[in-house]
Amino acid sequence: MNVSPAAPVTAPALSSIDALVLALQGVGYFADRRLATAVFLALQLQRPLLLEGEPGVGKTALAQALAKVLSRSLIRLQCYDGLEQREALYEWNYAAQLLHMRAAEGQGSADMAQVEREVYQDRYLIRRPLLQALQAPAPGAVLLIDEVDRADEPFEAFLLEYLGEYQVSIPEIGTVRATATPVTILTSNRTRDLHDAVKRRCLYHWLDYPERERELAIVRAQVPDASAALATQVADFVGRLRSQPFANAFQRAPGIAESVEWAKALVALDTIVVDPEVVSDTAGILFKQREDVAALTRDMAAQLLQPAETDA
């Protein structure tokens, strides 16, 4: 049965946008207000939320945080090229079905139509993420459809029924509707444009790199061992790295995930103050491309570190 729109998600954390921001912070996710508004609306309007943005800005982490805040289970569908319905929705346990058929024949059951009905029973159904999300008991699940841009277009078309109606059609059984509307988050790195039909069914939010304060808060929350000064240096350095005019020098700017990793590495190396030498020794954590690591010269690191030092 569908939950009617009049009875939206009613966890105490979700009475207002402010409450949502606080609740997310409570589980270590620092959302800015615009993002929180989009999430709030997605929950209230029971719409899927499509998150786009550069890699490492916290799209997947949002779904994980939401699952914690709402105390729901997180079901994850990782998309990849060639993903097919049977890996995303359901599959029959063919071996068991065949055994059932043979057994029925052995017992001399002549009614093939009856056997066929028996074979397509619930117990022979292998549930994959989408079906699991639809059949999750109340209050429902959080379904993360990760990197949906990696799947191909036929798969997108197959998602439409789920995204629009929270239901899927299985020929042998009929239509399966959500028992409790799953909170659905789609993420995309924009390696290609998604079809309009998918976008029409979703709310949309472009997740940008965080501003300095937010990034600092994230680093401090994720790497409690780092001193305040070190966390500030990390946030400042990475923030400046992403900003003009430095951004053009690199193929891919580091995301939040990279800043956190970097901070952890610096703590592990017992670094107290970040200097150009440390930066060039650990550049492989910030960048995952050889060209970028080479592009981050000591001079540039020194230049990037300078204002942070004068601020301090």
């Binding site: 946008i17 207000r33 615009r34 508004t37 989009a38 709030f40 609306l41 997605a42 209230q44 309007l45 719409r47 939320l49 499509l50 786009e52 990849y80 090229d81 060639g82 097919e84 029959w92 063919y94 079905q97 065949l98 059932h100 058929m101 043979r102 029925a104 024949e105 093939m112 056997v115 066929e116 074979v119 191909d152 036929p154 790195n189 924009r190 390696t191 290609r192 444009d193 309009d196 976008k199 029409r200 979703c202 709310l203 949309y204 939010h205 472009w206 053009n248 193929q251 060209e291």
Partner: protein, 404 residues
Amino acid sequence: MAEGTTISQLGDARTGKLADNLTGFGRTLRRAGVPVDAARMALAQQAVMLVGVGREDFGAALESVLISREQDRQVFRELFDAYFKNPGIAQKLLAQMLPSAESRAEPAKRRPRVSEALAPVRAARDAPAPREDDKIDLDAAMTASDLQRLRHADFNQLSASEYRLVERLAREIPLPLPRYAARRTRPGTRGGRPHWPGAMQQAARTGGEVLRVPLLQRRRQPLPLCVLVDVSGSMERYARLLLAFLHAATAPRHAGAGLRRDVFAFGTGLTDLTPAFRLADTDAMLEAASQAIPDFAGGTRLGDSLARLRVQHARRLVGRRTLVLLVSDGLDTGAPEVLEGELGWLRRHCGRLLWLNPLLRFEGYAPTARGAAVLHRQAHGMVAVHNLSRLQDLAGSLAEVLRQ
């Protein structure tokens, strides 16, 4: 609901003023090119009821409901500010964003080939050349339009004779793109995995006995194609016909629906022609392309253009399978080191990099120009494209280069 509602002129939903404002805003967005349908507008109303109108959340809420592309965000924010602070500004802003809005009333220009088709029949000397096709130079084909080309040295459209030529080229010179086994499967007779649903269906008919296991075989899909066309002055005469040829030869009706093709023109800058290539009609494509290219028949800065390709589009198009066709004469005015680096990057990040060089028409051509030397070093192969027989070789060359 709205806490501390301060913007009184918006009204609330009960008086209908809010609805009017929202609808007006939706229409404005649509005029600015942001796709907003009625369902979205209805959703926007609901969203506003949920977050209230008095705070910044109002804008964020509308944005998450009404926008679905990153590139629309800036337009949305500017329009939002203008519209809800002063609707008068919104009109002006719109006028700035749509400079061609007034010109729409003009009657549609006739394509040259339509005009030619309507003109009285001339003597038979315009008829297509007799069937010694293999010797026709593209140059010869171009003479028919020399006059027009002189008048506006621009892409624009094909004349009737050129159009016939391109049509014939595309029909007679197939460009079968090499295919690879994709990850998606379909039921078939050969393949590695059993097709269980099919086996079940058969078994149901034979009392649970599986007589023959149908298999899943992988679909074959054409290799993704990325075409980079030099539109500098020296390439002008080839660029247009080659674009037309590639457009026709890789059209879905020839190459199959699954083909991915990304097309870029480069001169002093880089222009994404992929949207233009999605148009079905070759003339419409050329017209859209000529409007999109700001620097047609200018110089060539191949290295810089490739750098832009890498920074802005690379993640979207290069992959280990992509077949890159680089159409250029290699007369580059940029720095050769930059070109060397960028080409090296491109070579490492694509399946095969093929250089289509119209200058190969000259006997004893050697890639001695600085740019040409770099191209020759970095490309996986070099193919001549200046006449019909050479174009016919193109498909064969593609297959050969891929085998290497």
